[in-house]
Symmetry: C2
Subunit: 353 residues, 2 copies
DNA sequence: GGGGGCCGCTTGATCGATCCAATGACACCA
DNA sequence: TGGTGTCATTGGATCGATCAAGCGGCCCCC
């Protein structure tokens, strides 16, 4: 049984938001005594209208609670004002937490630029499945690609289809890639952390990073070696490359303490740094007093763990701003050649150093 | 200057994905020698076609790489297959981390139901601004509302406009609300945690929770009192209500240790539990040996901190499934009366207990 | 044998916006 | 006064899908 306030079929202008069907451009036009196109102009190119006409139209828009129908607009303009972003499987880790911080910033920045963020999840078997669907159905205007790690085919695939996208992460492999990207200088981050420790008087500073096939890991490692060599300090025997888990960090730090007696650790992630803290605790050593520790990512964990973990913080808000700026450029002009933006991280100093 | 592979204006069927304009329904129809509607049916109601026609059409769809234009479909069907979800300002905290886990699950579950998730950010001043825009422009089919805390006007506002939505969080206040919701039984969670401690032989179990005006906090607290009273144990003098910060948890636990000598703590959040761990560390007490601690949310922190924080884990994957199921019901049938689903959390036992 | 119903498919209209070409109004200047 | 140019505004066409109605062919049954 239809409810009494819906059965008329007509629109209830007195309470616009409650009406069954939202008002259309034509409704506004009729009420304001102008044509549809004029209303459209009032919304999209207000300068084209005479001031008095404009106010009259805007008044009607306001009174009716009109908002352009997204689908109709999208159909006509061939754009959706949506930015697609794939989120990986819910593996809980610090990398994920970083991504979430980025997503927040991206959503906020996109809003200011008139875009919304559409999230989709990928099939782990077919990494381009989600992209393909959205692209062919013209559901999104562009993509933000976040997982540009070693051998990831998405960037190349999108590039081949001329799909507009910006990567968060530099194109490590493909030299011929011409897409835009934004990245954080990981090496600069670890260099910052290492220098911070050097300035505190440490000389034997160890590195715990990821396996050699991780380009990101090797990049971060290079910041440590650079800072050490700069001061003429040796790095041999002070480095370890392991999996990105707390247990690995724990083991690696125990080994290093025994073999090389470092007074400080710089780690490729907060997860590994947590492992170091565990080892210190096992041995009755105090982080920040006896041995200093620096992590990477400035995760939630770094902030709440005792005595606070000094960590490299990526400027994700800036990354989001740059990504959106690049996207806007991409969508406004024909994509000639991509731009690359490298941002510098900062160091959040806490009790562990 | 137009590129050589784009200047013809026609479609390059040999390499469908590279063509400037994607193929349309009409293109498929022409190639398959049928009408547009038949192609439409092949996509949406395959049963209506004769098997041989169907295969012929599908073959053409495949060959052209056709995928229905989202905008056109949305315009005609008045639906977008998008679910809107607002994410709050990027206050970094465990609540946020929980939300991120939920978002992941929601995206995944939505995909299986044929929906995508559209994220938008709210203006903190006007909590319904984002909702209003999306609703009036018919950009989303429904909303998932996550912040249904005390005095939150969104649910009531959406209800009034007859906007389809499902809340993650029960309607604490409004008794007259008729919307669907899914929630996790927080009281059952703390009860679980408290019983776990009781079974371990603890008798004096303290509570550290949030201020009294938090309905969620009071709910979680009730689980603790219920479990205690069930065994005939007193709770007076064993509870503290503070802000949700590590520092507050630290202070509150120090006070309680001095005043009531509890042997265990149950906390309304992992953040507070971390504060307890700090206090124990300050006093040379070992979590899990001398004093047991149970947190809430099973955050990243709980998993990596030493010696591991026992914590109540919300079944967010299930929540997402129920939310999407409720949404599907809502969009399929006329919204008669909302349903409420209450899910039970589990306990992730770790070294702290 | 003729009417009714179903099947498989087609045709024209439609959703609500913007694009495009054209029109009316108006001012200016010769 | 009439021509010209500018500006605000108009009406029709269009984007690409689905809806609604209808059509011919076939079978069935009275």
């Amino acid at each position: 049984m239809p409810r009494s306030d819906e059965h008329e079929g007509g629109r209830v202008y007195a309470r616009p938001a409650l009406s069954a069907t939202p008002p259309t451009l034509a409704d506004v036009a009729e009420r304001a005594g102008v044509s549809r196109q004029t209303v459209s102009n009032a919304v999209n190119n207000p300068d084209l209208l005479r001031p008095d006409t404009l106010t009259r139209v805007l008044e009607s828009i306001d009174a009716l609670g009109y908002s352009p129908n997204r689908a109709a607009r999208n159909l006509r303009t061939r754009s959706s004002n949506l930015i697609g972003m794939r989120i990986g499987a819910a593996q809980e880790g610090t990398a994920n937490a970083t991504m979430d911080r980025f997503v927040h910033s991206l959503v906020e920045t996109s809003r200011e630029a008139g875009y919304h963020v559409l999230l989709f999840s990928g099939d782990s078997r077919d990494p381009v499945a989600g992209y393909d669907d959205l692209l062919r159905s013209t559901a999104v205007d562009a993509f933000v690609v976040t997982d540009t790690y070693l051998g990831n085919p998405q960037a190349a695939w999108l590039e081949e289809r001329r799909a507009p996208f910006v990567a968060f992460g530099r194109p490590w492999e493909s030299l011929g890639s011409r897409h835009s990207w934004v990245d954080v200088d990981g090496a600069a981050g670890t260099e910052l952390g290492t220098r911070h420790l050097l300035d505190k008087g440490h000389h034997r500073i160890a590195w715990i990073g990821w396996r050699k096939d991780s380009r990101i890991g090797e990049d971060r490692r290079s910041g440590w070696t650079r800072a050490m060599h700069e001061r003429g300090l040796p790095t041999t025997g002070l480095a370890s490359r392991v999996e990105d888990t707390v247990a690995s960090g724990r083991e690696a730090s125990a080994h290093l303490l025994d073999s090389a007696q470092p007074s400080a650790f710089v780690c490729a992630s907060d997860t590994l740094a947590m492992g170091v803290l565990h080892t210190l605790r096992d041995r009755g050593l105090r982080a920040g007093e006896h041995v200093a520790v620096v992590g990477f990512d400035d995760s939630q964990v770094a902030q709440v763990v005792s005595p606070g973990l000094t960590s490299v913080r990526q400027p994700l808000e800036e990354v989001a701003v740059e990504v959106v700026a690049a996207l806007e450029g991409l969508l406004a002009h024909p994509p000639v050649r991509g731009t690359g933006v490298m941002l510098a991280p900062t160091l959040a100093v806490r009790g562990s150093s």
